[in-house]
């Protein structure tokens, strides 16, 4: 099935309570698949086509604030519209899952694939000091697997989690093993797991308030510091990455998502030509596998960051490598997906 369809199936199977979204290419198959599957008749999951991405993300805020497992999906311009709501969710410390099947920008851009929302996803994207947990799938299988993972992380840390995919992975068809079926949580379970959630104040507790607002600067600073401490905890525990053929490598290609798939092929070609090259694939883009890259930089002669953008993740790679070895970038723009051969040629340039 398609990557987009896998997201829809996985959401139902992992016990999601609600989907709120607005159609946009190249990810409309997600809401279309959900509409076809009618989960409200089976698991009771709510599926609602909202009036805009702005409404979708605020529905996510409402649903998450009420303790439910809710997700929304969109593509780049739509996710740009959602940034206000994502910042509010981060500020109110709400768990929720946002899927971005990226397309080229800026502005209306193109409907073709891109990875140009890396900065937007990993730097917060909206106003204020915050981070969103960002997972980058490189296969249809990971599209399916990361839905539940994103929910687990989101609820563990009370923080929005994003699956940063792109038009290649969303539209690509592959075999996939769908995740096991998890029932939706009962009211009792939600009460236990989310004592902060708002679904009616019972006599045994004070009212729960979901808000990101605080006018006293001292209190607001404390809230921010607590969030920063939480982000540090996420950095310490949730870094995910994959290394391929790095053991004997002189050079490493650093790539995520669909670019990592292309880089795998580039590595095969380069190895056939006798170039010892490996792949480092960050799976969490935030938290970024900084330490692992710092270590790897001690063993190689250089790194090529291959992205489908003008050079975004390269900044994080350079920060991690900190000048130890040369770090170069190669990318294509405007919705063009790079060929493996192009990556190999650029690798040779830096040798």
């Amino acid at each position: 099935m398609k990557g987009n369809e896998a997201i829809a199936h996985a959401a139902i199977r992992c016990g999601a309570d609600g989907f709120f979204g607005y159609p946009i290419t190249p990810q409309s198959e997600i809401i279309e698949t959900l509409a076809l599957l009618k989960p409200w008749e089976t698991t009771g999951m709510v599926v609602l086509q909202a009036e805009s991405e702005v409404a979708s993300i605020n529905m996510l805020y409402g649903g998450a604030g009420a303790g439910k497992r809710v997700l929304t999906t969109s593509s780049s311009p739509g996710v740009a519209l959602m940034q206000e709501g994502i910042a509010y969710m981060a500020g109110a410390e709400l768990p929720g899952v946002i899927v971005n099947v990226q397309r080229g920008g800026p502005g209306l851009g193109t409907i073709q694939p891109s990875q140009a929302d890396y900065f937007q996803a990993t730097r917060g994207g909206g106003n204020g000091d915050y981070n969103v947990i960002v997972l980058a799938p490189n296969s249809v299988q990971e599209m399916a697997d990361f839905v539940d993972l994103a929910f687990e992380l989101a609820f563990r840390y009370r923080n929005p989690a994003m699956i940063l995919s792109d038009g290649v992975i969303g539209q690509m068809m592959e075999k996939v093993v769908l995740p096991p079926i998890k029932p939706r949580r009962t009211e009792e379970q939600i009460k236990k797991e989310c004592p902060w959630a708002t679904f009616g104040r019972t006599a045994d507790r004070k009212p729960n308030i979901i808000t990101s607002l605080e006018l006293k600067p001292e209190v607001m600073e404390q809230r921010n510091l607590a969030m920063q401490a939480k982000y540090q905890k996420i950095k310490d525990h949730e870094v995910r990455y994959e290394m391929l053929r790095c053991e004997d490598a002189d050079y490493v290609i650093v790539a995520f998502g669909s670019a990592a798939r292309i880089a795998e092929k580039a590595i095969e070609i380069a190895r056939e030509e006798g170039i010892k090259v490996g792949l480092f694939r960050p799976i969490t883009l935030w938290p970024f596998p900084e330490k692992q890259l710092t270590e790897l930089a001690k063993k190689v002669k250089g790194m090529l960051v291959a992205e489908i953008n003008a050079g975004q993740m390269i900044e994080d790679v350079k920060l991690a490598v900190n000048g130890a070895v040369p770090v170069e970038h190669f990318g294509r723009l405007g919705g063009i997906v790079p060929e493996p051969q192009e990556i190999v040629e650029n690798l040779k340039k830096m040798m």
Binding site: G85, G200, I209
Partner: protein, 255 residues
């Protein structure tokens, strides 16, 4: 003499229990407090204290959650109907309402308001229309009257420059998703009693799955209008109610 009367068995009116003792940040004489009390009274009378979620706006009522001891969510500016949509759909047996001002509901959140109402979400929307932006210091609202002076139309609202005041309640009455659309006010005891009945009907309608309701409450902002609270009530009757006609615009609830 009074000591004989002031005794629990003679009690006929007190602040609703859901309204806590936190002093409200509203200016002296602000209509918000009156409507807050009515909302609290209706929730108590319906016995829904433990099953209610309120959604408050950005604007003067941004801190509504401090005053009524129910669960609350603070929405982004204008997005309360979207927030409430999700809560209600995911917790259908809860009473979920929004409380919004004119800037929040009829300007920045027009899209969310119209679509939530048109989908027939089972949420009542309480709409405080005081024809001005109170929280930011008295700027023009979408509902500011023609000729009315505010900080951003200091020479009076001029339709050629600023367009016309928006009668969003009339608009809501045209939507198939709404079951109850009404315009009330809170400047007199009689008006307050009527408004309470309207809020009760809207809340009941949502719990009976009748669709969405909009209760506009024509209100005063004496600070923004630069008048005494008593004078503001008079001005409301003379000017606001002349343009914003009171009464039920639609009622298909059968309640």
């Amino acid at each position: 003499m009074n000591e004989d009367i002031i005794s629990p068995e003679n009690l006929v009116y007190e602040k609703p229990k859901l309204m806590n003792d936190t002093p409200m940040h509203y200016c002296a004489g602000c209509s918000h407090g009156v409507v807050h009390k009515l909302v609290a009274e209706v929730i108590e009378e319906m016995g829904m204290e433990e099953k209610t979620v309120g959604v408050c706006p950005v604007g003067c009522a941004v801190f509504a959650y401090r005053y009524l001891d129910i669960d609350w969510q603070e929405a982004a500016h204008g997005r309360a109907p979207a927030v409430a949509t999700a809560i209600k759909r995911l917790w259908p047996d809860r009473l979920v309402f929004t409380y919004q001002g004119d800037g929040d509901l009829a300007c920045i959140g027009t899209c969310e308001t119209i679509h939530a109402l048109n989908r027939g979400e089972n949420i009542p929307i309480i709409f405080i229309n005081n024809a001005i932006y109170g929280m930011t210091g008295g700027q023009m609202a979408p509902t500011t009257l023609i000729g009315q002076k505010t900080a951003t139309c200091p020479y009076g609202r001029d339709s050629k420059i600023h367009g016309y005041p928006l009668k969003i309640t009339e608009l809501a009455a045209q939507l198939d998703g709404t079951c109850y659309v009404t315009r009330q006010s809170v400047e007199t005891v009689a008006a307050i009693r009527q408004t309470k009945k309207a809020i009760r009907k809207a809340f009941e309608a949502s719990m009976h799955g009748k669709g969405s309701s909009l209760v506009e409450v024509v209100s005063t902002c004496n600070s923004g209008w630069k008048m005494s609270p008593v004078k503001a009530n008079e001005w409301l009757e003379e000017h606001m109610l002349e343009f914003y006609h009171k009464g039920d615009l639609k009622d298909t609830t059968g309640l």
